[in-house]
Amino acid sequence: MSSLTNKKRRPMDVLLYFLIYLCAIFSVLLLGAIIIYVFMKGKNSLSFAFLTSVTSVLRGTVGIAGNIVNTLLIILVSMVFATPIGVGAAIYLNEYAAKGRLVSLIEFATETLSGIPSIIFGLFGMMFFGQTLGLGYSLLTGSLTLFLMVLPLITRNTQEALKSVPDGYRQGAIGLGAGKWHVIRTILLPSAMPGIITGAILAIGRIVGESAALIFTAGSAKGLPKTISALFSKLFHSGGTMTVQLYLSATSEGDFDTAFAIALVLLIIVFVINQGTKRIAEKFDVTRKK
């Protein structure tokens, strides 16, 4: 008997509920398994010496200090280019440009750029920065390639942040006689800062995890520069990041201990970045109730 008060359970419903829960739990279990597996496999090789020495058959040391320095240099150089230009583009789109052909063209370019896979950026970087500009396989070539790759990420995050600044701020400041640049510098950028920082951190995360765009642009050298000047000239030489080293360790070098130790370091970085962006978003959430 089916009546209003006596709900009939449809077998289909039960099955679908089961599938929905299964899928939801799958991602949690998958992540858990990845973390545990990488931790178990990587923890034995991961040590202070591993992080501060360079792999050398002569001295019998295994380490990724060179790769860490390369990664940091690439982050530094790409972000030095990408942050001002990405933020600048967002400011133009949000504050200066009138809706029109040019704006839709720029937005189309941003969309397209963010849809291009990293291997294509790698090919382009190799051809343009490496060959046409003569930079060869170098950290600079890699950095410039990644600069183009993370540009849309920063632009879009800054745009979102600028959009959330109330229009009253702009009108108020302009009504007091301030120029546009003055308003941007003193009011809009500070208000949008959390969004900009979030974008920058996300971009750093992408750079840390990138490998396909770097293998043909920055190469794979793992040496550690000894002096400050060597550190700067390092920009013009080949250098592999941690991800590139992981790839080589797991494939051609067949050194899985190193591969898993790097994987563990990368997972920790990913986790820190993830938590960092969350904190910032929470701290500066204007809709949050005090």
């Binding site: 949690v28 990488v38 600048g88 397209t112 896979p117 294509i120 051809m127």
Partner: protein
């Protein structure tokens, strides 16, 4: 120069700097397209369009080399299609869980898990596939092909491994886009359906999901783009020879072909690799244009 002129100069300079920054992205897309076409086209002319696109022999270093990339293109299409077929239902149901089934405790675990899965570098997925999936595949392979003479043993590096890794990698994309499109469905629609006596599950599958259709489709297309462009992870698990994309064959994709041979290729071989890059670029552009059209439809 008085201070007012100085301010006006500053304003002008700022305006120009911001405009230039914005034009940078147009310049980037334009030059990437230009380079891909300029470097990828010559081999099409030298080898011949039908020979290159529809040739099934890939022997770039043979005495009389042949450069047919049909199997590579097919592998990319089949691999992407299969991973989407696998990843989208799981992703969609996860999104349904997050938006429609209100289990707060489990949601608090699922959401961050999806975020972290999206952030894990692709080489780590490749490493895990290599260590965990490939041995299982090898065991299956030995079981299935124990009496076959024609099968080339791959040690487990095959199309299935690549498809599974890709499906996992596109999962977060599908979940995120589906979540936001399901959230955008008006609560009135759900309420009306429930008021008419439909069960919650009926409402989800007959009302909410159809209403969020275009957003979910966007997620599918984004997933296709990610799967097509992924290189390092699948290069580690899919093996190293060009074959017709059968489940237990070792295959090369458009992307992995570039990763594994660009390092040493010379002459015409290298130029053909650039053509492979151009084919990949054209596929990606088609995906991008579809995406753009979908988004435009959504905002209308």
């Amino acid at each position: 120069m008085n201070s007012r002129a100085k301010i006006r100069l500053g304003e002008n300079v700022a305006h120009h700097i911001f405009t230039t920054s914005a034009l940078m992205q147009i310049f980037a897309v334009f030059s990437i397209t230009l380079y891909m076409v300029a470097k990828g086209a010559p081999a099409f002319i030298k080898v011949g369009v039908p020979e290159l696109l529809f040739g099934t022999q890939w022997q770039p270093t043979a005495e009389s080399p042949s450069y047919g990339i049909l199997f590579i293109i097919l592998s990319s299409i089949v691999g992407t299609g299969a991973s989407v077929l696998l990843g989208v239902p799981v992703g969609l149901l996860t999104a349904v869980f997050l938006t429609e089934v209100s289990d707060k405790r489990l949601s608090r675990l699922v959401k961050p898990a999806i975020e972290l899965l999206a952030a894990i570098p692709s080489v780590i997925y490749g490493l895990l596939g290599l260590m965990l999936l490939n041995p299982v595949m090898y065991r299956l392979e030995k079981l299935i092909f124990s009496n076959s003479t024609g099968h080339q043993f791959t040690g487990g590096s095959n199309l299935i491994s690549a498809v599974i890794v890709l499906a996992i990698m596109i999962l977060p994309t599908v979940v995120n886009v589906s979540v936001s499109s399901l959230e955008a469905v008006s609560p009135n629609l759900r309420a009306s359906s429930l008021a008419l006596g439909a069960s919650k599950i009926q409402t989800v599958f007959k009302v909410t999901i159809p209403a969020a259709k275009s957003g979910i489709l966007t997620g599918v297309v984004l997933g296709i783009g990610r799967a097509l462009g992924e290189a390092m992870a699948i290069n580690m698990v899919a093996g190293g020879s060009v074959n017709f994309p059968l489940p237990f064959n070792s295959v090369r994709f458009l992307t992995t072909q570039l990763v594994s041979e660009m390092g040493y290729a010379e002459g015409l071989h290298r130029q053909v690799l650039f053509s492979v890059g151009l084919v990949l670029y054209i596929f990606i552009m088609l995906v991008n244009l579809t995406l753009l059209r979908l988004r435009r439809k959504e905002t209308e």
